[in-house]
């Protein structure tokens, strides 16, 4: 689904603290599969994820989405691709405090201009899928970590994206909640979504849900 060719990513390019977080990545993310990125801290997993999810552009190299080169597209188009194609689950969940669970879920759909009624119905169905229907009006800061993550998952799904991107999804969860997360992951994978995640967690890496494991070190792929 996504192909990367000789991707390099530099931070603070041209300055004294220039740092190459990715140093030549060639990778193809298969469609409708679960791909996990692993590797030591600082190896470039998150950086790679931001490039796969069109949150950032590579310093060098090409990104192809469904065969189309998108590395040169202006920001506006990237945003639209990101909105239509990817749903994000962040490590810190990044929900907006002060808003209710359901308000958070519908946020990514605002720029699409879909009617509010349809959005709320869809959000309600998504929350029900993860057993959160009863908490829909609760302010997100009152929710537990596991509940917050499930709200984040619903938010990632509101625009019906082809792919889900999750950075360290189990880092803030205990074993039981991590298990539940894997359960949700499995059902999403079964429905044919492409999933890309990073993880340190053996529970995730060794689970049956994961189809492809990519190992990074010093900004390079060492094993696939």
């Amino acid at each position: 689904m996504i192909e990367l060719t000789s991707i390099h990513k530099a931070f603070n390019q041209g300055k004294h603290n220039e740092y190459w977080a990715l140093a030549g990545i060639d990778l193809a993310i298969p469609e409708k599969q679960v791909t996990a990125l692993r590797g030591p801290s600082g190896s470039g997993k998150t950086t790679l994820l931001t490039i796969l999810g069109c949150l950032a552009r590579p310093t060098e190299g090409r990104v192809r989405l469904r065969g189309e080169d998108i590395s040169g597209l202006p920001e506006r188009f990237l945003t639209e691709i990101r909105r239509q194609t990817f749903g994000f689950i962040f490590q810190q969940f990044n929900l907006i405090r002060g808003l209710s669970a359901i308000e958070n879920v519908v946020l990514p759909a605002y720029p699409t201009g879909r009617p509010r009624k349809a959005l709320l119905e869809k959000a309600e169905a998504l929350l029900a899928d993860v057993d959160l229907a009863h908490r829909r009006e609760a302010k997100v800061e009152w929710l537990s970590g596991g509940e917050q993550q499930r709200v984040a998952i619903c938010r990632a799904l509101i625009n019906d994206p082809e792919a889900l991107i999750a950075d360290e999804p189990t880092a803030n969860l205990d074993t039981k909640l991590a298990g539940e997360f894997l359960g949700i992951l499995e059902s999403l994978a079964d429905k044919g979504r492409t999933i890309i995640l990073t993880s340190h967690d053996p529970l995730v890496i060794e689970s049956d849900v994961v189809n492809v494991i990519v190992t990074l070190r010093d900004g390079k792929i060492v094993e696939q």
Binding site: T46, L49, E75, R76, F88, L95, I96, P108, R116
Partner: protein, 380 residues
């Protein structure tokens, strides 16, 4: 179809904006209060000076082009019999007539009235027509009797025949109109003497010439031109406006600082939210539009509240809060209610100078925050 999506999108943005505003209730209410207060001060000044100007124009519209006074030893003195005739014919003067008026201090309510024997209005002997200020301060109504003690000590009693309409308080508030004979009797004015002479000149270009000829014919006279009065009024207003302007600039300065602080002080939380919105698919433009609605809603509301409060303040509470600055008028006109008047251009100007800079000031830092790369949220 595109239009529908656009409208739906704006509705979403406004929804989100309202929710955002509600989330930071304390902060936004504070903002609204300060902002509204500033609009209130600015609008009060604007409404007040404008109404005062309109009022002054009304006053002057009814006065003659030239008023001739006689001076004795540099002091204003009565016009003796035969004086008017001495003027003779001067080209351009349409009408000249002696006027009878004077001031009377009413010790009961500690106010000055203007007594006058009108030429263009008939008042029966023993009757008076009073201005609205008297109607209020002395509780007079048509048919009531009232006594004034003259400067010679005698008591004169009059029946109130009518009360003047309230069209312009500045002109008529303190007037007491009476018959010429009553006037002369009350002030012991000798027969044939007048207070001054009013002249009407049709062609404004001729006024100066007429004044020069008057000075030639009557060296002891002093012609007072309406244009000069107008200029005096203008300078009085200018002086007052100067103070008001100082107030105004202070307010604008405060406003600037306040807007700047609000602008510079984009909280970490707000920045984080902007990052999140961008990461989940909001365009830079969407974020800016949302914040634009936020700024616009606050400033619109503040403008409305401030303006309405200012309107009430100026026209219903007699500019209560400005009293120290505007004392002069307050002494002259104990209860001086301005005619309500709203000027469209003025509202537009005020609107532009308050709503626009605020919205702009708020948008700059938002724009900066909104154009940062969305990948930063991955690392918060």
């Amino acid at each position: 179809m595109l239009m529908k999506i656009w409208i739906e999108k704006q509705k979403h943005l406004i929804d989100f904006t309202l929710a955002s505003l509600a989330r930071r209730k304390g902060k936004n209410l504070g903002l609204l209060f300060i902002y509204g207060l500033l609009v209130f001060v600015l609008a009060s000044v604007a409404l007040y000076t404008h109404a005062l100007r309109t009022e002054a124009q009304k006053v002057l519209a009814g006065t003659p082009e030239i008023v001739l006074q006689r001076l004795v030893a540099g002091r204003h003195d009565l016009i003796p019999p035969g004086y008017i005739e001495k003027i003779g014919r001067i080209r351009g003067v349409q009408k000249k007539e002696g006027r009878l008026w004077g001031y009377y201090y009413d010790s009961v309510v500690k106010a000055n009235y203007t007594f006058m024997a009108p030429r263009d209005m008939k008042v029966e002997r023993g009757e008076i027509i009073v201005g609205p200020a008297l109607e209020r301060s002395r509780g007079l109504a048509t048919g009531n009797g009232i006594s004034f003690r003259s400067y010679s000590g005698e008591l004169h009693t009059f029946i109130v025949a009518d009360v003047l309409p309230q069209s312009s308080e500045l002109v008529s508030a303190d007037l007491v109109l009476m018959h010429e004979e009553d006037f002369r009797a009350f002030f012991k004015y000798p027969d044939g003497h007048y207070t001054d002479v009013a002249m009407s000149v049709a062609n404004p270009q001729e006024i100066r010439n007429v004044a020069l000829k008057l000075m030639d014919a009557l060296p002891d006279s002093r012609p007072i031109l309406r244009d000069e009065v107008l200029r005096t009024y203008a300078s009085v207003f200018d002086w007052r406006e100067g103070i008001m302007l100082a107030l105004l600039s202070a307010a604008i300065l405060a406003f600037g600082i306040f807007a700047w602080e609000k602008a510079a002080g984009l909280s970490a939380e707000e920045k984080r939210e902007i990052g999140i919105l961008k990461a989940i698919g909001w365009e830079t433009g969407d974020v800016i539009k949302m914040k634009f609605w936020e700024g616009l809603l606050i400033s619109l509301l503040a403008f409305l509240l401030g303006y309405v409060a200012a309107y009430l303040h100026v026209f219903h509470f007699n500019s209560l809060l400005f009293e120290p600055v505007l004392k002069g008028w307050a002494v002259l006109y104990p209860r001086f209610t301005l005619t309500p008047h709203i000027d469209g251009l003025q509202v537009a100007t005020m609107f532009f100078f308050t709503v626009f800079p605020y919205t702009a000031a708020v948008l700059v830092p938002i724009w900066r925050a909104a154009t940062t790369d969305p990948d930063t949220v991955m690392r918060s």
